[in-house]
Amino acid sequence: MLEIKNLHVKLEDEDKVILKGLSLTVPKGEVHAIMGPNGSGKSTLAYVLAGRDGYEVTDGDILWNGESILDMEPDERAAKGVFLAFQYPMEIPGVAGLTFLRTATNALRKKRGQDELTTPAFLKLVKEKGAELNIDIEMLKRPVNVGFSGGEKKRSEILQMALLEPTLCVLDETDSGLDIDALRVVSDGVNALRNKDRAMLVITHYQRLLNHIVPDKVHVLADGKIQKTGGKELALELEKSGYADYTGKAA
């Protein structure tokens, strides 16, 4: 279970406060969506969950399976099952996708006390998971994300998610930049990973995604806090009326 309690976050180098007492609970086996206006702090929340530098938690706590993760390094959190599908995945020139995937897979397996995968076993796995996401092995011979289209980057994030077997999946606008067919492929990929041991937090601007990945709950994040929580129908409501009710400004 993910428990975010009264989380206050400011930028380390500036006085800007972004999250102002955010609380949220996602039980295992559930998928929650977070929607909210641009700049409301959705990506910030995702980064703080994953342990990125540059943010200061001034109050509150984040517990994953009852244990605070705030003092953990990003790779320790990853070992505990935290995975972030980035809104803007990074390019790594000169590092072939396969090398990256294999290094990451084995680094995590080692940290989790599992045996490293042999090259044939790994390749078999990648081919299998890649096929489900329409990712050809040729694409993975290219450097990580370099020259990838927006949609290719997002699909490759989901492939990483499938290989690294996380238990807490945070998806930051994984639907943006996807064409209609790719949206279905990616959604199917995510749905295939839904199970009783996984919690998922899906950040999106569009109700459309939630037709494919049907959430157990929808939260509205605005002004640094969860302003409202509801069922999947809340997304439809937002689609119509925008965020005016939550920000005090017209949409």
Binding site: D53, M90, G94, T99, T103, A107
Partner: protein, 489 residues
């Protein structure tokens, strides 16, 4: 090199600071008296039973060296070296020259094994499977053994220690020694010419493609002892050879001097590929100790359509002063320089190349990747020149620098001289900082900060890594990772 991998893992267990090769072999040695004067030169020559012509050549070099002064133009800083406070010759007592493996002190074999260089041919075959590498092992001032000699001999290839070449192949040595790097070329080259102790000699006869990789493995063990090896490689018409040089030294608090000379000669249609993985002790993380590496490496593309390619991976030494160069004398000759220079701690690297185009339609390519971390300074210094009569020459240069942290420096100093208007020179250079976002991305996927840096840096140097012989690629990737340990977080 599976064998290398295994032994590197073993050496890792010895784990001294971050430098994995810092152990010392306790072995009795024969040394020249401390200091340097004419008698030192005579002593070294006598130790090796050299003929008179060799001694005369050394003495001539010594006279020239005395009249020279240390160069100061490089961007490196170090206290003045006291050349009288050094030993110039040291040899393991048990070894008077290269002989059969059965005569080599088991301690020495053990040392090389620990370093990942198995010298017994059967061990090598067991570990390396399909690929075979012939090794000349130089310990302090002498070559202790050369492997696969018989098989090479069948192909007509001469691969032996320099001392042996002086005795067995004087006509070749006389003809080529100093013909690329003259005695008075520069301060350190002159010093080397006077006191050089050993090194490797290679001759590939006309039309022969050397049947295996050749490699020399240098190890400085003795305290306060300079190492001055000299390598001479000649590829006769249409010959081909790929050669690899590796080096390590124990960790010591005082600095040690290493001043080597490498001369390459490629005749018509010949090709020499020379790779170096330089991993001398770099000093500790506060800049104490480490090797001063002042090296002169030059290749002469003497014949038409000849080719010389330098690939270097520089991770060690406190100071590196090194410019493997090509004299492109032959028409249509080709020079290449691929370099990875990694500096961390207080290391100072001033390295690069010279491509001197004298022949018509000669071409050259320079790819340099500098990675600076810690408090280190990393300079690329390069010269590309075209002679007045060398029409139709081409050069492409690409220098990229990567900075890790904000206390290090990367510098690019390119000199370009075109004395005729048909020269076509291209130069690209970039400097970037390793990106926190990229590191975070890797760490989110489960890599520690060190693993993340190693991965990103290995991607940055990929173009150059691919130039290394296959057998050494994986090892080198690992070495780069090890060299950058402690550079972030």
């Amino acid at each position: 090199m599976a064998a290398v991998k295994e032994t590197i893992d073993q050496v890792k267990e010895i784990d001294v600071d971050q430098y994995k090769y810092g152990f010392e072999t306790k072995i009795e040695s024969v040394k020249a008296p401390k200091g340097l004067d004419e008698s030192t030169v005579r002593y070294i020559s006598a130790q090796k039973n050299e003929p008179q012509w060799m001694l005369d050549w050394r003495l001539d070099a010594f006279q020239r060296w005395k009249a020279m002064t240390e160069p100061t133009w490089a961007k490196v800083h170090y206290p003045k070296i006291d050349f009288q406070d050094q030993y110039y010759y040291s040899a393991p007592k048990s070894t008077t020259g290269p002989k059969s493996l059965d005569d080599v002190d088991p301690q020495l074999l053990e040392t090389y094994k620990k370093l990942g260089i198995p010298l017994r041919e059967q061990e090598m075959l067991a570990g390396v499977q399909s690929s075979r590498v012939a090794v000349d092992a130089v310990f302090d001032s002498v070559s202790v053994v050369t492997t696969f000699k018989d098989e090479l001999k069948k192909a007509g290839v001469i691969f032996c220690s320099f001392s042996e070449a002086v005795r067995e192949h004087p006509e070749l040595v006389k003809k080529y020694l100093g013909s690329v790097v003259p005695q008075s070329d520069n301060y350190y080259a002159a010093l080397n010419a006077a006191v050089f102790s050993d090194g490797s000699f290679v001759y590939i006869p006309e039309g022969v493609r050397c049947p295996m990789e050749l490699s020399t493995y240098f190890r400085i063990n003795e305290k306060n002892t300079g190492q001055f090896e000299r390598t001479l490689i000649i590829a006769d018409r249409g010959a081909y050879v790929s050669y690899l040089e590796g080096c390590t030294a124990p960790m010591r608090d005082e600095h040690q001097l290493h001043a080597a000379v490498v001369e390459l000669v490629a005749l018509d249609d010949a090709e020499i590929k020379y790779s170096t993985v330089q991993n001398w002790y770099p000093g500790d993380k506060n800049g104490k100790g480490g090797i001063y590496n002042f090296v002169t490496k030059r290749g002469d593309c003497r014949g038409h359509h000849s080719k010389i390619s330098w690939t270097q991976v520089e991770t060690g030494s406190a100071i590196t002063w090194k410019y493997p160069s090509c004299i492109l004398r032959g028409d249509y000759s080709r020079g290449e320089f691929y370099s990875i220079a990694v500096s961390n701690g207080y290391q100072q690297v001033d390295s690069g190349t010279k491509m001197i185009h004298l022949g018509k339609n000669s071409s050259s390519r320079i790819i340099s990747k500098g990675i600076a971390a810690g408090h280190s300074q990393n300079t690329y210094r390069g010269l590309v020149s075209a002679h007045r009569k060398a029409t139709g020459v081409r050069n492409f240069t690409n220098c990229d620098s990567l900075l890790i942290g904000d206390k290090c420096g990367a510098h690019t100093v390119p000199y370009i001289e075109a004395k005729n208007s048909s020269a076509h020179f291209e130069h690209e250079a970039t400097t970037s900082k390793i990106s926190d976002d990229t590191l975070f991305y890797c760490r989110q996927r489960g890599l520690t900060s060190e693993e993340a840096v190693a991965l990103v840096v290995n991607g940055f140097v990929r173009d150059v890594l691919q130039q290394l012989p296959m057998e050494f690629m994986a090892e080198t990737q690992k070495l780069i990772g090890i060299s950058l340990e402690g550079s972030v977080g």
